[in-house]
Amino acid sequence: MDENTFGRAFDYIREVIERSRNFEGELEIELPDGSFGASFNERMFKKFDGCERARGAAIDGSSFKILSGHSFIVSGRRAGYVIADEKGITAKKIGDVEIDAIEKREMKDIFAGKYEEVMNRPPKKFPDSMDETIDAIRGLEEQVMARDAIDKLDEGDIVMMDGSLEGSEFLPDVIKKNCNRAMDMGVHLVGICKRSDLYTSKLPVLSWVKNRGDRIFSRQRWYYPLSKDKKIYIAKLHPFSKFSFRVDINPMEKEAEEILGKIAAFSNDVPYIGYPYPLAEIHRNVVITSEDGLYYRKALREMTPMNGFTMDDWDDIFFDYHEYLG
């Protein structure tokens, strides 16, 4: 590689850094399901107080590709939730690991079947790949868990989803249904993103907001309304946190500050300062690790000879020349 190759790449990075430092104005931000206009203006930052007490549920899911047979994949999924107050976890529901084989030709039917179980009607949009299908099914299962949690909570409690409420282009109706249900029950529904891909014209949105927010409200909680219509915020949930997060609030909600204050009540756990600890806890409970994946792979492989097949049969199906190349 010559120096120009690096040079071109770095020119792009330089431009991104400069815009994140200096930009002020309006921009259109892309979402998986459409876009919205956002202002980037320092005067829009607001500080807020954390509540001392709060009760809520945190929902998360995990999926792991166990085997790839090229035209089909075997994956494991798990979703669950914990119910917590500002002191600790009070209840939890962790689903079993669901292991499914998904084939390219059947993936739409499988997704449609799962979707219909939840919504009693077919989906409007289908994933294009097996990986997307697995993610969409996992998202669906998380929404089912969220619905269950909403029913268990009381008015004024909060449901915290891991990820954006706008994150899945295949599940908008499912999310909307849960938002409606939450509003009916007086429960606040929010999505909190560990990672944000909000991006527009060479401006890393989160970085822009974080740098200015910390400068304006050093050692205080603050939030920035990225979209008041869609109720998309970026917030620093603990005065001494090094991180800020995108928080999507149920678009039907009117008041954001009180909800952010409740999230802040969960965000002073010292290993995760500034992040709601119930979300950290549910992540730990549902995550399917690579070790788990290896175990499931081994268990499936051991079933081959027990069912009258040879290990060669197995290897023929799952062989990948990349492994041979090393």
């Binding site: 976890i89 010292v270 290993p271 730990r284």
Partner: protein, 506 residues
């Protein structure tokens, strides 16, 4: 018993278990892992403790960093779900297991995720079955005492005992308890040479052997000084001293040694008195000028030093050694107080008595019936590293004493100065706190139990805590030695209770 944790794994020489963040386990604690399927109990000794967290090491580093940052800012914080996120790991050395009521060596491992709990008194039934007639303390699990008496079977005393500890860890308390325990039975003769004068009266507010409720019958005391209680004056006849005795005490050149043997050969039992009384020129003539006067001059100075001692007499009839031997054979504790004497005098007393004890038992050995009636004897030497090197009567006893029912109790704070070969002759070790790594290493390599995993425990032993090893012990037994004053107070209580019962009976 409450469950403490669960076995995680590892192997036949090391078992690790997880236990809750909020619970405390101590190095040296003895725990049991339950095999519910096979109805077996695995005994585990905690040899190390570690931190555990259900997250990566990086998580721990980061959390500590956050805490430090908030501390600096004077900000309050808390950690939730500690019991889930944090735990501790106990590393254990497997001691063995009980199945069908029998204690077995650790040739098997407990099942995966076995329940781990603290051992109860009932679990130690196999230890209680072991004969312990010289009890010295209670079984200890970490810092906790268990109601199981530990010590050793008196038949082991002729297999030699080593008591190893740095100053202040409880050597003399242990020895006092040992002697007091032996005095209860009258089955063992125990000779204690006491250079510090701490056994009879006690000291620093503690009691001595004279306070033992059975002292009147079970204790005989010899001392060159006046003592507050009944005692005999320590006297040794010059005619009892052999060349070999003083060879163990003073350094001699080959020529001087040859000369000593020549003198002894010529004058017999009178050799020391004659060497002292005759002039060097006269001796040169007597030995046909084959030995130089310069050699005699050196030997005479040593002889005069010995004869100048208050405990040495020219009178052949003034000697206590036979009486000491007779008391020992009656199963008594004989305390020879050598405090205030010069080191050579103290060593000389020990050497003469040790030689005579071995010699008498060797002679008795030829008569099986007579020998059978002799009780096992134990000769106790303080600072034993002074006499347990190379040749000499104590080394000889260490090597061949057990055959003749003569055991040696070596008390030292520097076992590394005792030859490894000699130390390997000692079958019973009482290991109290040892600060020096060299001392611990020599003990580890000479003990009759594998001590490789208890190095940390030895390092952490507190005053009065000990590990006891002897052949036949299921493992190195952790003990808390009785405090002597408490021990004899209990004996007095037992004595009073016995007397009251008798009064009532009649």
């Amino acid at each position: 018993m409450k469950m403490l944790g669960r076995v995680i794994g590892r192997n036949a020489t090391e078992i690790v278990f997880r236990y809750p963040y909020s619970k405390d386990v101590k190095i040296g604690e003895i725990l049991v892992a339950e095999d519910e399927e096979k109805n077996a109990l695995f005994f585990l000794r905690v040899v190390d403790l570690q931190y555990g967290q259900e997250a990566s090491e990086r998580w721990g580093l980061r959390t500590a960093g956050e805490m430090m940052m908030l501390d600096e800012m004077n900000q309050p914080y808390n950690m939730r779900e500690k019991e889930h996120r944090l735990f501790k790991i106990g590393v254990c050395s497997p001691l063995g297991y009980i199945r069908d009521g029998k204690f077995r060596r650790p040739k098997a491992i407990p099942p995966h995720f076995s329940k781990v709990r603290r051992a109860s008194r009932d679990d130690y039934g196999f230890l209680i079955k072991n004969a312990v007639d010289i009890g010295v303390g209670r079984l200890r699990s970490g810092e906790t005492e268990v109601e199981v008496e530990v010590g050793l079977d008196g038949s082991l005393i002729s297999h030699h005992i080593g008591i190893f500890a740095t100053t202040g860890m409880g050597k003399s308390n242990l020895m006092r308890v040992f002697a007091a325990s032996a005095m209860r039975h009258g089955k063992y003769g125990i000779l204690i040479v006491d250079p510090h004068g701490e056994y009879y009266e006690g000291g620093s507010g503690t009691k001595g052997l004279k306070h033992h409720p059975m002292a009147e019958n079970a204790l005989v005391v010899y001392s060159p000084h006046r003592l507050s209680g009944p005692h005999n004056t320590l006297k040794i006849s010059a005619y009892e001293i052999t060349v070999n005795d003083i060879k163990d005490i003073f350094p001699f050149t080959d020529a001087q040694r040859d000369a000593l043997y020549a003198i002894s050969s010529r004058f017999g039992r009178e050799w020391l008195v004659r060497l002292c009384d005759m002039e060097s020129e006269e001796l040169v003539e007597v030995f046909g000028r084959k030995i130089q006067d310069i050699t005699f001059n050196v030997l005479k100075r040593r002889a005069e030093r010995i004869m100048g001692s208050d405990i040495i007499h020219k009178d052949e009839s003034v000697a206590v050694t036979d009486s000491v031997l007779n008391h020992l054979n009656e199963g008594k504790v004989v305390l020879v107080d050598t405090s205030g004497l010069y080191e050579y005098e103290e060593l000389l007393v020990g050497v003469i008595l040790a030689r005579k004890i071995l010699s008498r038992n060797k002679n008795a050995y030829r008569d099986r019936e007579r020998f059978g009636r002799l009780p096992p004897l134990l000769i106790t030497m303080e600072e034993a590293q002074r006499v347990l090197k190379g040749e000499g009567i104590f080394s000889q006893i260490a090597r061949e004493g057990r055959k003749f029912k003569v055991g040696l109790c070596a008390i030292t704070q520097q076992p590394k100065l005792i030859g490894e070969e000699l130390l390997s002759q000692f079958n019973t070790f009482f290991i109290l706190g040892l600060a020096d790594e060299g001392d611990r290493n020599i003990i580890k390599s000479s003990a009759k139990q594998d001590l490789s995993k208890v190095e940390k425990e030895i390092q952490m032993l507190e005053a009065g805590e000990a590990l006891i090893t002897y052949p036949g012990a299921p493992f190195a037994i952790p003990a808390r030695i009785y405090w002597y004053d408490d021990y004899i107070e209990n004996l007095e209580g037992e004595k009073r209770a016995g007397a009251e019962t008798d009064d009532g009976f009649y």
